[in-house]
Amino acid sequence: MKVRINPDKCTGHGQCAANAPDVFELDDFGYAIPFDTAVDPRSEDRARLGAAACPERAVQILD
């Protein structure tokens, strides 16, 4: 599983990292940092939760 963070939509709510701190990382301004590596299979459920918690719908799950 991979995740795609859309930096044009992210406004820094931080809910991806609040729900899945082992998957998402925020920068010094509180915005999600895009990444291209695969999600650890043990964290996939949390990654889905983090994506679904985004009020801006800025996180897409790519299975």
């Binding site: 939509k9 406004t11 820094g12 709510h13 931080g14 809910q15 990292a17 609040a18 729900n19 925020l26 920068d27 010094d28 301004f29 509180g30 915005y31 939760l49 679904a52 918690a53 985004c54 009020p55 801006e56 719908r57």
Partner: protein
Amino acid sequence: MLNAAPGIASGSVAKQRGAPPNMTNVETAGNDLYEGVPVVDFNPGMESPVLGNAQKMTELRELGPILRSSAAQGFWVLTDGELVREVLADPKTFSSSATVATMPDPPYLWIPQMLDPPEHTVWRRLLAPYFSPGNLKKLDASVQSRCNALLDEVVKQGGCAYRRDFADRYPTSIFLDMFGAPIEELEMFLAWERKVLHVTLDEDPDGSGQISAMMEVVGYFSELIEKRRKDPRDDIVSHSLTWEIDDKPIPTEQLLSFCLLMFLAGLDTVSIQLTYSTWHLATHPEDRRQIVENPDVIRTAVEELLRIYSFVPPSRKVARDIEFHGVPMKKGDMVFVTVSVPSHDPRLYPDSMRAQLDRQPNPHAAFGLGPHRCVGAALARRELVIAMEQWHQRIPNYRIKDGFAPLERGQMHGITELELEFT
């Protein structure tokens, strides 16, 4: 006292306050249509029982996704969460140059709330690091201790006026810490807050008390800025003197507009949300029991209570003639937007007014959407979680005093007071 009062020209701020009570909040003005949409006499922020304003939006939704209010100068009203989302994500079309639906040409400027990109973006980059979840960890101990100290007093009383004794004092103490003002000035700030944000039309009929209190706030920060210029410390006011926009220091007048907005936006909002949350838990004993018995639920409970009691109305001004979902909107028109609409969207939350404290995921819109998303959201969340944890450790059982009927009021509507007794 001041020659220039940034953020406050002229005397029309008082007009923002709610219209007199006992007027009906919503009436459809017959079967009138305006540019093809139903006309309603909708005046936001009327005094009503708790959740009356949110209930009104749900009733309006039945009439259509876009309505026209005949109140004040007339404005559009959005009742559909997806439309609210579109508007807040499109600052080029829907400007923040006016953010109160009944006031299209405000005589004040709040920075950065009333700026549009790109100016807005520059301010947000300056501010965001102070409120990022990473930076807030450093503040945690002082938030904990401010909360604890206030509860020491409240616990002794056997009951309290929740806003006066706790909810207003707590975020204000933290604001003073962050901005570098001494805690001894708390009473003075609380008095300003009451005059600026909580007076009724009866108490201050021409709004002069409100204006003069805002001038005093600006005067206070003006002196604090001069003090910190000579003797900088590790606080936001001192740091703001080193901020630059386009390689130039920010003019003092703009820094004052910024301090005024932080005062207006950062204090009342947390108090309102705490008071709604506590009202909810006082009137829903099964939810309170869940929090007392399982404090781990507090993190998601805070989000669910933010969702249900979403109260901020970040309205917008149309920047160019457009057709929005078939409705012709003209440059200069106001659009009333309130975040309860996406937070209660029945497509996302089928039983939207029922609290489910362990709800996950919960992509509510209490902190707004789009580039103006509340910059203080992470701090507000932390303050809410800490208050819920400490309060319920020390005061697990409480109820609303017999015969006390709480009311909400204001365009940014909140419960004005909550009389509690501990049981």
